[in-house]
């Protein structure tokens, strides 16, 4: 009842948090495993029998033990069931052993840290875009206290609570909470209090945001369940027909045959007999529901998962990490993916910003795109890195490839110096210098870090800052600038500036910001320079670089004094402060002189654009769901080919006016979809409960950008349907500013309305929710911890492995699974339905056609290995072709290879085969004798002929299905057939039969029958009759009903004979026309923190003392 949480603590001395957490881990490993040594057997058996199929066979076993209806020996069910149960049990046991997860982390209430004011540097990049530092609560000498706080919830940005400490109450807010998944940086120690423990249930805010963890089942699993129900119904109706037949037969014939075969004493009438025989047939025909289906499916999935683990082409050497299939139950779904939801940071990009190019005073520095390509393709890295050895404070990791810029710096070009000076001054970076000469920057955004680092390397080293000064080492000479004001960044301004006083007592304003904004604030005199710079910016944008414009303004001292006054007034005003501030800012940020522009490369992971292009060709739609800003997200979307310049239109959904935007969008993409007469609309109105939105084809390529808050409105209102219809028609969709939960909601939405397979890929804790929500979750094991990976189904290190996972492994798994299922159902139908035909000749007496041992071993021994071989080794085309023709992936998305229609085909094929398999041997033995005059028309010989024909037929059928004959396939397929004959002679041998005459009754049948010409003639006839129509069908099908895939296959087969044409490289297109590529991933409000000096004072004193000592 108590929604609040009370925590009290009493500690003598505090252990550092790390140790605390470590201790916690030691003692609180979460036990997610289900079994121990003692409860394993009963618990596992209990769980297994909860599965419908196993329970069914248990019931069947009991039925078989009733003598009145038992038509099969008990062991025909017991032996397969035992084998199946034990294989599953072994697999469960192994799975279970793996599940000892590493320990939890909790949300931590920060109490104090090593840093001044108990600030703690935290990277919460995982949660909502990169940002650093959160002010902590500072309690230095604490020994006891009490915290009352809210109950666990999923709001990442809210936390309320009260800390009672020494009789005083302190209010707690979310700033003081370290969420699970944060990384503490550059902080020596900190103390904290564990608030929401994962251990106490998934209480942490992040876990609350992660969505429910459900056991994922594939579409195929659901389909199988449906099919098993169908089979049940089919089975029931067959039993019913046969029972009626039995009733009629007993009435007409059996009654009069009682002289030789009297009715049992418990059978008063033919009706009772019919009821009993219904169950007898139920037992006989039980093999329609294949007992080994589920276990075989699991083995196949396991095998195909192993291939993923073993794949060297998905092994990432720099991190020494192979791909991991963490789930072994989803493989074939990998071949059916239609939508990919991708995170941006760390997934598409490396999350590394590199200062790549710049334009200073109309001069272009850095390699041109063309030269760069040339360099890459010809002699690799011919151009040397620029040598920064003249600068002792340079960052050795920084590299730049244009010497002219260094020469310009060395020459003392005034503009270049000013440019770098502005970069080293205008920022909110903090520096740290624990060892003399080794600077470490704490940047709020990686962009800013990259810029300051660039300035540092070119000789304008930002060394330290206080609340009032910034020290810069300019070409080896330390100069201290007075910091007069920071005009902070915000989303509307899209720029930041600082005002500083140089040692020469000049007041300067340095500004950097988006080109679109800044170019309007420039002094008219630099119009020409602006045009040149804009051209350069275009070049940058084309390459997908993130750009900023840099400008300065020299201020008149008196002007600044007047402005400063206004500024402090605005700062102190209580009403409408923000607005007042920004208008004050605007007064000073004008008539600026343009210095140049910077271009930062948000480094994509290797091969991302190519991968996206390949996935596009495979008709996989790619959505980017990111917590990052719209501008950066769009930038990346262009860089990775998700958006293209040739797109017919791009729409941005912002604010609450979604509906009109969506309407407008649809009007453009597919005008008829708004009419009531549109078939989709009719479909949707006629089925209000909404099952599935059909695929709609727009009239061009469109892109959609939607941000988090608009999405929230869309999801809350009734716009979901509209949104899905619109978004799914777009080529690419970017959702930005998303919370983790929203990411999951988007995935759920598409899952719900489109009923297609979705895949989510991400690397951070903020992606966990969507990874869990999607049908398949893929974790990138990157820099952002293990959260995503631990919750994923598949994990690897590079985004580009996704194409291999889907197009190669997924496609193979899907094709193999489909082949397996088709064949598996077929072989069981062909096997079982023979009994049905025999019923008409055996008085519907539930007589089996086969020897009971054949029934026992058929699924388990005789036919299991070939089909496993097929579904573990078969490849219709090799990996090169799979990747080269992504179109081959399409049939999986529409589930063309195994669906209800295919199942019916299997059924019909099975019925046909069983018909042949019964009537050909029957015709052969009818009133027939051997060449020595002795009979062969006895029941046991007939059984032998039928079962041998059956085995030949199913073996030939699988031989026909196999397209990739490895040695193992040969051994499995032909070995199984040979093994059948070995077992046959063993089971029918004198010794065994005489030892147990009532169990092994077929003494000598093999010897007497297998040498008969009739028998082999009959087998050949059956095989030909069963196989030739299939060959004919396979031959004619692509001729009569050609599909896209057939044509591609033809091309592949043709080109395997002829020499290979060189592979066409996927052409990479960069944006060809202008779009502002401005990027600023700041959080607002940091400037104030600096000027207030809160962060810095103690450090400054430290530094000062250090200087004094010097």
């Amino acid at each position: 009842r108590d929604h609040c949480r009370n925590l009290q603590w009493e500690v003598e001395s505090f252990v550092p948090l790390i140790a605390l957490v470590f201790f916690y881990l030691q003692n609180n490993t979460i036990k997610t495993s289900r079994y121990n040594v003692f409860n394993f057997l009963p618990l596992n058996l209990f769980e297994q029998f909860q599965r419908l199929a196993n329970a069914y066979f248990l019931v069947l076993l009991f039925l078989q033990l009733i003598p009145q209806i038992s038509s099969l020996a008990w062991y025909t069910t017991v032996i397969p069931l035992m084998v199946v149960l034990s294989i599953t049990a072994v697999k469960d046991a192994i799975d279970d052993m793996v599940k000892w997860l590493p320990g939890p982390l909790a949300d931590i209430l920060l109490l104090s840290s090593s840093e001044p004011y108990s600030l703690t540097y935290i990277e919460t990049a995982e949660l909502d875009g990169p940002e650093i530092t959160e002010p902590g609560l500072f309690l230095l000498n604490f020994s006891s206290g009490k915290v009352t706080c809210e109950s666990p919830n999923n709001k990442l940005d809210k936390f309320t609570g009260i800390l009672t400490y020494k009789g005083k109450d302190f209010t707690l807010d979310h700033d003081k909470l370290l969420l699970r998944g944060c990384i503490i940086r550059n902080t020596d120690w900190c103390y904290g209090l564990l608030v929401f423990l994962f251990h106490l249930g998934p209480d942490t805010k992040l876990m609350q945001n992660c969505g429910k963890s459900t056991f994922k089942r594939t579409h195929m699993d659901h389909l199988l369940n449906v099919l098993v129900v169908w089979i049940f119904l089919f089975l029931g109706s067959m039993c019913f027909i046969l029972a009626i037949g039995h009733g009629i037969w007993e009435n007409k014939k059996g009654y009069y045959f009682q002289n030789y075969l009297p009715w049992k004493e418990y059978v008063p009438s033919s009706a009772v007999s019919a009821i009993l025989v219904f169950w007898s047939y139920f037992i006989i025909l039980n093999t329609m529901v294949p007992i080994s289906l589920y276990v075989s499916v699991e083995i196949i999935r396991l095998g195909n998962s192993c291939y993923i683990n073993w794949d060297r082409k998905m092994f990432y050497a720099p991190k020494n990490s192979p791909a991991q299939a963490r789930t072994t139950t989803l493989n074939e779904e990998l071949g059916q993916v239609k939508y990919v939801f991708s995170d941006k940071t760390g997934t598409l990009t490396q999350n590394i910003m590199v200062f790549n190019k710049c334009s200073i005073n109309g001069m272009f520095y850095g390699m041109h795109a063309a030269t760069k390509k040339f360099v890459l393709t010809s002699v690799f890295q011919e151009t040397e890195k620029v040598d920064f050895s003249y600068n002792k404070l340079a960052d050795p990791k920084f590299s730049f490839y244009d010497k002219t810029l260094v020469e310009a710096v060395k020459k003392g070009d005034r503009w270049v110096h000013l440019f770098f000076l502005s970069l080293s001054l205008c920022h909110t970076v903090m520096s740290e210098e624990k060892v003399e000469g080794k600077l470490v920057y704490q940047a709020q955004s990686p962009d800013e870090g990259a810029l300051v680092t660039a300035a540092r390397n070119f000789g304008f080293v930002f060394r330290y800052r206080t609340s009032e000064t910034i020290a810069v080492v300019e070409m080896g000479e330390t100069r201290v600038y007075q910091l007069l004001a920071i005009l902070d960044f915000n989303n509307v301004r899209k720029r930041m500036s600082i005002v500083g006083r140089t040692p020469e007592d000049r007041v300067m304003l340095f500004c950097k910001g988006a080109d679109t904004i800044l170019c309007q604030l420039l002094h008219p005199s630099c119009r020409f320079l602006r045009d040149v710079t804009m051209e350069h910016l275009d070049d940058f944008a084309i390459e997908g670089l993130r750009t900023l414009m840099v400008a300065y303004r020299e201020l008149d001292n008196s002007f600044f004094q007047a402005w400063s006054k206004k500024h402090s007034e605005a700062c102190l005003s209580l009403e409408n402060r923000e607005h007042k501030m920004s208008s004050v800012y605007e007064e000073i940020e004008k008539d600026m002189m343009l210095l140049g522009a910077t271009a930062i490369e948000d480094k994509l992971q290797d091969g991302v654009p190519e991968t996206v292009a390949t996935l596009n060709k495979a008709q996989i739609k790619m959505w980017v769901l990111t917590g990052d800003k719209q501008e950066t997200a769009v930038n990346i979307a262009y860089a990775c080919n998700i958006f293209e310049e040739e797109m017919d239109g791009m729409f941005i959904v912002e604010g609450k006016n979604n509906e009109t935007v969506l309407q407008e969008l649809r009007d453009k993409m597919k005008p008829e979809s708004l009419l009531e007469s549109d078939p989709v609309n009719i479909y949707l109105t006629s089925k209000p409960q909404m099952l599935r939105i059909p695929e709609e084809v727009p009239n061009g390529n469109y892109g959609l950008i939607i941000n988090g808050c608009s999405l929230a409105y869309a999801l809350e209102g009734n716009l979901e349907l509209e949104l899905v219809r619109t978004a799914c028609m777009c080529k690419g969709v970017i959702c930005c500013r998303m919370t983790p939960l929203q990411k999951a909601q988007v995935v759920e939405m598409v899952k719900r309305y489109k009923k297609v397979v979705t895949l989510a890929i991400g690397d951070g804790a903020n992606d966990v929710s969507m990874i869990k929500a999607a049908h398949i979750g893929v974790g990138i094991s990157g820099q952002e911890g293990m959260q995503a990976m631990l919750n994923s189904d598949y994990a690897f290190s590079q985004f580009r492995y996704l194409q291999r996972l889907l197009l190669v492994h997924g496609r193979w798994s899907y094709n193999r699974m489909c082949k397996f299922l088709s064949y598996f159902f077929y072989k069981n139908f062909a096997f079982t339905l023979v009994h049905f035909w025999y019923a008409f000749f055996s008085g519907f007496s539930a007589q089996t056609v086969y020897d009971t041992w054949f029934i026992t071993f058929y699924n388990l021994v005789y036919t299991s290995l070939p089909v496993l071989g097929l579904s573990l080794f078969d490849q219709d085309v090799n990996e090169t072709w799979s990747l080269r023709f992504p179109e081959l992936y399409e049939p999986g998305q529409h589930n063309l290879y195994f669906n209800k229609k295919e199942f019916v085909k299997c059924l019909v094929h099975g019925i046909y085969s069983s018909f042949i398999l019964f009537f050909i041997p029957m015709g052969t033995i009818y009133n027939s004798v051997r060449s020595d005059g002795k009979e062969i028309s006895d029941y046991q010989s007939f059984s032998l002929i039928v079962q041998t024909s059956l085995l030949w037929v199913v073996t030939m059928q699988i031989a026909l299905e196999t397209t990739y004959w490895t040695m193992i396939s040969h051994i499995f397929t032909w070995g199984s057939l040979g093994f059948y004959f070995c077992i046959l002679f063993f089971l029918y041998s004198d010794g065994l039969c005489l030892m147990f005459p009532n169990v092994f009754q077929f003494l000598g049948v093999a010897r007497n029958t297998l040498n008969l010409p009739q028998m082999w003639l009959s087998i050949v006839l059956s095989v030909i009759l069963c196989i030739l129509p299939v060959i004919g069908y396979q031959f004619l099908k692509p001729l009569f009903w050609p599909v896209n895939v057939d044509k591609i296959m033809d091309r592949i087969h043709l080109s395997t004979k002829l020499p290979l044409p060189p592979p066409t490289r996927t052409k990479l297109k960069y944006a060809s026309c202008r779009h502002s590529a401005y990027a600023f991933s700041h959080k607002q409000g940091f400037g104030a923190l600096i000027t207030s000096g809160k962060i810095l004072r103690s450090r400054v004193s430290k530094k000062n003392s250090f200087l004094f000592k010097k």
Partner: protein, 350 residues
């Protein structure tokens, strides 16, 4: 879970053909150049085989006689009429006269055929005890439950052999007489009643229980014959090697038929003058009519037949091969036409 701690390459998967799915493989392709010849070859082969089978089956001579004795169908009607109740009269006999205008080439086999007789009924088929039949003394005294209601006699004695199959043993007997020329007396043709069952059956599968004091009768002491039988199992034949469970008539009967119409070998004619076949002349089969079948609409037939390399007369395989062969060729032509038209279409498209 972090890999970085270990040596570089430590977790790199093995580079084997198996793990990288690069196993060398043969990839056959169903192309026109394979499918079409396959159909034509299969068709031709089948037609050839079919012709051979058809002619060899046609060359076999068969002589059938239905002696069920339905009213007006011959002189077994009297016996059949007497058999109106369930228990047939003892030793009612009738005869079948026929004449052969020419030699019936040998070796000739005499079969009896039953129709509408469901030896393949499940309850019938399981009603036996193979342990007992393999001569196991304990099973002799304690027949299996499957034999019920022919497990124990009314007096409680174990029935040997137990079960419905044994109880329904076919017990008509036949003797064949030959009259060379009209007016001459009929001479009995020797019928070989041994060698009619599978060797494995009468030598391995079926065995008499161990003799007691050298006597088979004593071995069966304390058992009752099946209710339909007129004599105990050890008196089935005077020949000690052909009596008891290994009596060949019995063994043949116990190998139950797969279909409700079946033939069972009664005797081989291969001795004396008749080894080359049945010479021309008049013949008489003397039938001891014991076995009632009319109650359930069954028929009893007598069949003389000779055999070829592939067994007795059965036109099925020959006809089936001919039909399937023709279908293959027909199908081959259809496929050829479709293939050529498709090729043309493709060329046009290009």
């Amino acid at each position: 879970m972090t890999w970085s701690a270990t040596a570089p390459g430590a977790h790199q998967p093995d580079n084997t053909a198996f793990t990288q799915q690069r196993l060398p493989a043969w990839q056959p392709l169903l192309s026109a150049s394979i499918a079409l010849p396959l159909f034509f070859c299969a068709g031709l082969a089948f037609i050839g085989l079919g012709l051979g089978l058809f002619y060899s089956s046609n060359g076999i001579k068969e002589l059938e006689y239905d002696y069920t004795g339905n009213p007006g169908t011959g002189n077994c009607s009297a016996c059949a009429l007497a058999d109106q109740g369930r228990a047939p009269p003892l030793r009612c006999s009738c005869a079948w006269y026929f004449s052969l205008p020419e030699l019936f080439p040998g070796p000739v086999y005499l079969y009896y055929e039953l129709t509408n007789f469901y030896q393949n009924n499940r309850r019938y088929g399981v009603s036996r005890d193979d342990s007992q039949l393999s001569g196991l003394p304990s099973a002799l005294r304690h027949p299996a439950n499957e034999c019920a209601p022919y497990q124990r006699s009314a007096t409680g004695l174990p029935i040997a052999p137990c079960g419905a199959i044994a109880n329904s043993l076919f017990n008509d007997t036949f003797s064949l007489w030959h009259q060379r020329r009209p007016g001459e007396p009929y001479v009995e043709v020797p019928l070989d009643r041994t060698g009619i069952a599978w060797w494995t059956d009468c030598h391995v599968k079926f065995r008499n229980p161990p003799l007691v004091n050298g006597s088979l009768a004593l071995a069966f002491h304390g058992t009752a014959p099946p209710p339909n039988w007129h004599r105990p199992v050890y008196e089935l034949s005077p020949d000690p090697n052909n009596t008891g469970f290994i009596n060949q008539d019995f063994v043949v009967w116990m190998r139950t038929a797969a279909l409700p119409t079946f033939r069972k070998l009664y005797a081989r004619i291969r001795q004396g003058n008749y080894s080359a076949g049945l010479p021309r002349g008049a013949y008489l089969v003397n039938i001891t009519y014991n076995y009632p079948v009319r109650a359930f609409g069954g028929h009893k037939l007598l069949v003389f037949s000779n055999i070829s390399w592939m067994g007795g007369k059965n036109p099925f395989l020959g006809i089936a091969y001919l039909v399937v062969g023709s279908l293959c060729i027909l199908m081959g032509f259809v496929m050829l036409v479709v293939y050529i038209r498709y090729q043309d279409q493709n060329d046009e498209e290009e």
